[in-house]
């Protein structure tokens, strides 16, 4: 049974409750603190998790729709890896410039994400679905190796880049650091929501979509640039993060069916809820030994990924 818009309303209400819970949870103890002081301290981290999760969910839903491939996810197809490589190149090559010009960080991440997206389209779009995924995995591995190489060559940025590789940047969220990526997430997210109708047509195949009036070149261009923007902003907020972009659209489709008018916004809501849950569990479940959101997400996401792969193929 499909839930329709009720799932979106319910999901959004659930996300608000989760956010309230996340603001009240912390290693320093529960509650909002005196006059909401603790909640205020946690707010940037919670806002960053919500924005990054929403961008990841939307990016995943868009990539799956664009490539007509249920296994597409910017985390697995290397787009986040490319964003991190772009950041690593800037932080390794010109750290002074990077920290003096805050806009340069999302810009570098965007350049990396766009580069990988271009290669992904060029090398993996045609052919069976597995080709896209394998091409993406290859690009991801290459980008990760490039990031590690830069981290080794640039000792002053090594710890930061390694933390980014493990999706452990939410802990350093501060208003100054997150404001630009948040704005980019909001802008790219809003623009991605407008792709619902052409993505619905594309589900019928490229030729059917084109003859139904869909401008494929324009759709591809917009989807790739906007997904790269969302990936870049999310990477600046959280580092590299797998599974959110894969799981959120699958959960959304299971709840509301395949119409992108609902799948895209619900993927954003569920992506935000997944990442926020992972981050909150990571910092509150084991006091004294916090786990990164990416580690918790992998612990929760890997079994779900296997379940989805089995469900899809059989």
């Amino acid at each position: 049974m499909r839930l329709g818009r009720g799932a979106l309303v319910g999901g959004t209400a659930g996300l608000v409750l989760l956010a309230a819970g996340a603001l009240a949870c912390g290693t320093a103890g529960g509650g909002f603190g005196e006059g909401g002081a603790l909640a205020l301290l946690r707010f940037p981290r919670v806002a960053a998790a919500i924005a990054a999760g929403a961008a990841l969910g939307l990016g995943g839903a868009t990539q799956q729709g664009l490539f007509r491939n249920p296994l597409a996810d910017p985390g697995l197809t290397g787009v986040f890896g490319g964003a991190l490589l772009g950041l690593a190149a800037l932080l390794g090559g010109a750290p002074g410039f990077a920290w003096a010009h805050a806009w340069s960080l999302p810009a570098a991440a965007f350049a990396g994400a766009l580069g990988v997206s271009g290669l992904l389209v060029l090398l993996g779009r045609e052919g069976p679905p597995a080709r896209l995924l394998l091409t993406g995995l290859g690009l991801n591995a290459f980008a990760a190796a490039g990031t590690l190489l830069i981290a080794n060559l640039a000792p002053e940025s090594r710890e930061l880049l390694l933390n980014g590789s493990f999706g452990d940047w939410l802990g350093m969220a501060s208003p100054e650091l997150i404001v630009r990526p948040l704005l980019i997430c909001a802008g790219a997210g809003a623009a991605l929501l407008t792709l619902a109708r052409p993505l619905d047509l594309l589900a019928l195949g490229e030729e059917a979509a084109q003859t139904a009036g869909c401008d494929l070149r324009r759709l591809r261009r917009r989807a790739i640039v906007l997904t790269a923007l969302a990936a870049a902003a999310a990477t600046c907020l959280v580092g590299q993060m797998a599974f959110v972009g894969l799981l959120a659209p699958h959960l959304a489709r299971a709840l509301v069916g395949p119409r992108h008018g609902l799948v895209l916004p619900l993927s954003a809501v569920l992506g935000a809820a997944l990442l926020l849950t992972a981050d909150t569990l990571g910092r509150a479940a084991l006091p004294g030994t916090p786990l990164s959101a990416a580690a918790v997400m992998a612990l929760l996401g890997a079994p779900l990924f296997v379940w989805i792969a089995r469900r899809h193929h059989g």
Binding site: D200, A203, E207
Partner: protein, 233 residues
């Protein structure tokens, strides 16, 4: 001519060194229903795809609903044309009703779903349907999307290949009704009896147009051999 809906002039298309369309010239006016026949590989689907603007590499002149479909903006070209693929597909597990909603005209879809015996299947996922039911679901979406038949171009590639008798007759009647309402309808088919019921038949062989006229003139003994058995005329 104001009522010329589709025109091909010296249209050719080559792929992997093989000439799939070879100097094809034809025209369809508003109100004409034409059957396109030929053996497997004769070029029927290629011709329909060229008319739908899906083969930008074709040479020669093509005009469809007043536009060159190879260069026209997709939205403008689609406004007065529908193209039914031979093997439609769907990436996600849409229900019949969700597929129909893509046409954007719910009342028209409901009407077509009724005519093609899909009403009871509306909430069923496409993956759970038979091949014929799926083909009918895709046709209902396409047919419902056509707003104004006069001057429109319908390109149908073996639209009844998988359909049962009832749904087949519905499609036959629809083609006649659209032509009467002023649409130009070009239908590729291997159904000889249906092709003989059209007022005009175009026959292709190895990418060349070998006959164009009323069925009695086109279906000569030699041509029937070439078209239906795939052997030389």
């Amino acid at each position: 001519m104001a009522d010329l809906v589709l025109q091909f002039s010296r249209v050719a298309y080559e792929r992997s060194g093989r000439r799939l369309l070879d100097g094809v010239g034809l025209s369809l006016r508003a109100g004409e229903a034409v059957a396109l026949v030929g053996a497997n590989g004769a070029g029927k689907t290629t011709l329909l795809r060229a008319a739908a603007g899906l083969l930008p590499a074709t040479t020669g002149d093509i005009t469809a609903t007043g536009l060159d479909p190879r260069t026209a903006a997709p939205a403008a070209a689609a406004r007065r044309r529908i193209y039914a693929e031979q093997h439609p597909s769907c990436a996600w597990d849409q229900t019949v009703a969700e597929l129909g909603a893509l046409g954007g005209r719910p009342a028209a879809w409901k009407d077509w779903a009724g005519r093609l015996a899909l009403t009871d299947l509306a909430e069923r996922p496409l993956a759970s349907l038979s091949g014929g039911e799926r083909q009918a679901a895709h046709l209902a979406r396409l047919f419902a999307s056509l707003e104004e038949p006069y001057g429109a171009l319908l390109l149908l590639d073996e639209p009844t290949a998988a359909l049962d008798r009832g749904r087949r007759e519905t499609v036959h009647a629809a083609v006649r009704a659209w032509a009467q309402a002023g649409a130009a309808v070009l239908v590729a088919t291997h159904d000889e009896a249906w092709a003989r019921a059209f007022p005009r038949v175009i026959a292709l062989e190895e990418g060349r147009l070998i006959a164009d006229g009323p069925p009695a003139a086109v279906f000569t003994a030699g041509l029937v051999c070439a078209v239906w058995a795939g052997s030389p005329a």
